[in-house]
């Protein structure tokens, strides 16, 4: 355990989380703390429910049991008005970008500012250009989302997620689809944003090595449970073969690559 971890009250506190989807338990008894001011990474094999976890934290999905607290308030006990108020303090970068397709890049980033503040247009312009500059897309401000590549769309979405200067930002796979250079810049950006404005960041990512560089704390989840958590160094040489295999991306080991199924032989020769 990292020093001082139990002293400060966590910003997000998840206890006994249980969530079913089509009768299948995606989470079963997950406890998880996101500390204020840190970068917490959530990792796990594809399809374990990382995106689902972020949506649960954001209150877009309801857990079947357990509680999720954000700044001491149980998200799923709030009325929708209070939930919306709380969401003003969260930013979320969607895996797909989720840009509004009928607005230009500039208007997309300006959208939350225009919705929630009464700032004059000249100030909005400056704010938006600064956010776009941070993700390296100031020159793309007049493009429409359909004219962006996947990686660019995600960077615009990132600029939009931080447009209102939230106190917590959730990044769903911010680095996928980026070339090595923009990936390096984005990784540093996440860290810098976090430290400069004392943000709290949750990063969901498959890029173990890169994420481990900037994360203060890592949760590895799989099969509905937290497999292991700790500071990056500890996880990289964890005692558990499972975690070691995952963190180092080794092909051989206990982590299954396949979605649960009967054996291949059975499947191939049992059909009609």
């Amino acid at each position: 355990m990292a020093k001082g971890r139990s002293v400060e009250k966590p910003l997000v506190r998840i206890r006994g989380l249980r969530f079913l989807r089509a009768g299948r338990a995606i989470f079963d008894g997950v406890d998880l703390d996101i500390l204020r001011g840190g970068v917490t990474a959530i990792m796990g094999p594809s399809g374990t429910g990382k995106t689902t976890l972020l949506k649960l934290i954001a209150g877009q999905l309801r857990p079947n049991a357990g509680s999720i607290e954000f700044a001491g308030e149980d998200i799923h006990r709030l009325r929708s008005k209070e939930l919306y108020r709380l969401r003003m303090r969260m930013g979320m970068l969607f895996q797909s970008g989720a840009l509004l397709t009928d607005l230009s890049v500039f208007d997309n980033v300006a959208y939350p500012i225009r919705e929630h503040t009464r700032l004059p247009e000249s100030l909005i312009r400056r704010l938006v250009l600064l956010k776009l500059e941070a993700v390296g897309l100031r020159g793309a401000r007049d493009l429409m989302p359909s004219e962006l590549s996947g990686g660019m769309a995600r960077r615009v979405a990132l600029a939009r997620a931080i447009a209102l200067d939230p106190s917590m930002v959730m990044y769903d796979e911010p680095f996928t689809g980026q070339d090595p250079i923009s990936m390096g810049i984005l990784i540093q950006l996440v860290r810098r944003l976090n430290d400069a404005s004392r943000l709290t960041s949750i990063v969901v990512s498959h890029d173990v090595k890169e994420t481990a560089q900037i994360a203060d704390y890592i949760y590895v989840i799989s099969q509905g449970r937290v497999m292991e958590h700790g500071v990056p160094e500890r996880l990289l040489d964890s005692d558990s073969a499972w975690v070691r295999q995952f963190m180092h991306g080794l092909p051989d080991g206990p982590v299954p690559f396949h979605y649960p199924a009967q054996s291949l032989e059975q499947d191939l020769f049992s059909g009609p």
Binding site: Q60, Y84, R85, R87, M90, A98, L99, T101, A157
Partner: protein, 259 residues
């Protein structure tokens, strides 16, 4: 046997649930009205997309329907030597029935399907979820303006349909078939009642506008967020709207004219 019974039961429960979600959505749509009053530009934009862009199809169809009515009406009426009442016949059929009903069916096909596809795609591409995360209520911001745009456009479109239809009837009846032009208009003026005919027709088209837009928005909002889900929802919008319009038309007609 029991399997089929269970399937039947499940389908029943699902449609009742869907009905419930539809009404919840309607409540939320109406709750967004206060917000809409603060942002009239949102409504104006949608009045254009939903209403103005449907004008072409509605007026062209209205013209042809009026012309056909006049042709058919003339052959029947002339058998009884009552050609001068052609104007009344054309106008009454248009204002009471064909105007509201046909323009609602066209509206469902042109604007309703577009609304469903738009909302469904916004859902499939997580744009609605993205709005929620920006603390913007997508129902209020995206759906409510569209709902009221549809509700307000429908009577106007129906009125255009009827007006152009009456003109089309005039061209054919007076221009081609030689009915007396003065009689066409004066008989119409004397026999079409403001309350009985026009007012009731307008009520009908308000109802149809409400129902068609509601169906279209609900189908988009409730669809499976996949391309197949969106395509199915679009089909359902057109089919359900057609049933709703024709069924409601019977009920409304019975209530209004059937003493």
């Amino acid at each position: 046997m029991t399997r089929q019974l269970a399937r039947l039961g499940r389908a029943g429960i699902q449609s009742i649930e869907r009905l419930g979600r539809g009404h919840l959505l309607l409540l939320n749509l109406l709750a967004g009205l206060a917000d809409l009053a603060l942002r009239p530009t949102l409504l104006i934009k949608q009045l254009y997309a939903v209403g103005v862009l449907s004008v072409a199809i509605v007026t062209v169809s209205g013209l042809f329907v009026g012309m056909v009515l006049s042709l058919q009406g003339y052959y029947i009426l002339s058998r009884f030597g009552a050609e001068e009442t052609l104007g009344v016949m054309v106008a009454a059929s248009l204002v009471r029935e064909l105007g509201p009903v046909v323009s609602a069916l066209l509206f469902a096909g042109r604007a309703g399907s577009a609304l469903t596809a738009e909302i469904g795609l916004m859902k499939a591409t997580e744009q609605l979820a993205g709005l929620e995360m920006m603390a913007v209520n997508p129902v209020k911001r995206i759906l409510t303006p569209r709902f009221f745009a549809g509700f307000l456009s429908m009577p106007l479109l129906a009125a255009m349909f009827s007006a152009i239809g009456v003109l089309g009837g005039y061209f054919v009846g007076v221009g081609l078939l030689g009915v007396d032009g003065g009689a066409y208009w004066s008989q119409m003026q004397a026999n079409i009642d403001l309350h009985e005919d026009i007012f009731n027709g307008v009520i009908k088209s308000f109802v149809f506008g409400w129902v068609c837009t509601w169906i279209a928005l609900f189908q988009g909002y409730d669809c499976l967020p996949t391309s197949e889900g969106v395509s199915r929802a679009t089909t359902r919008t057109v089919v359900h709207s057609a049933f709703a319009v024709l069924g409601l038309d019977f009920v409304l007609t019975a209530l209004m004219f059937g003493n």
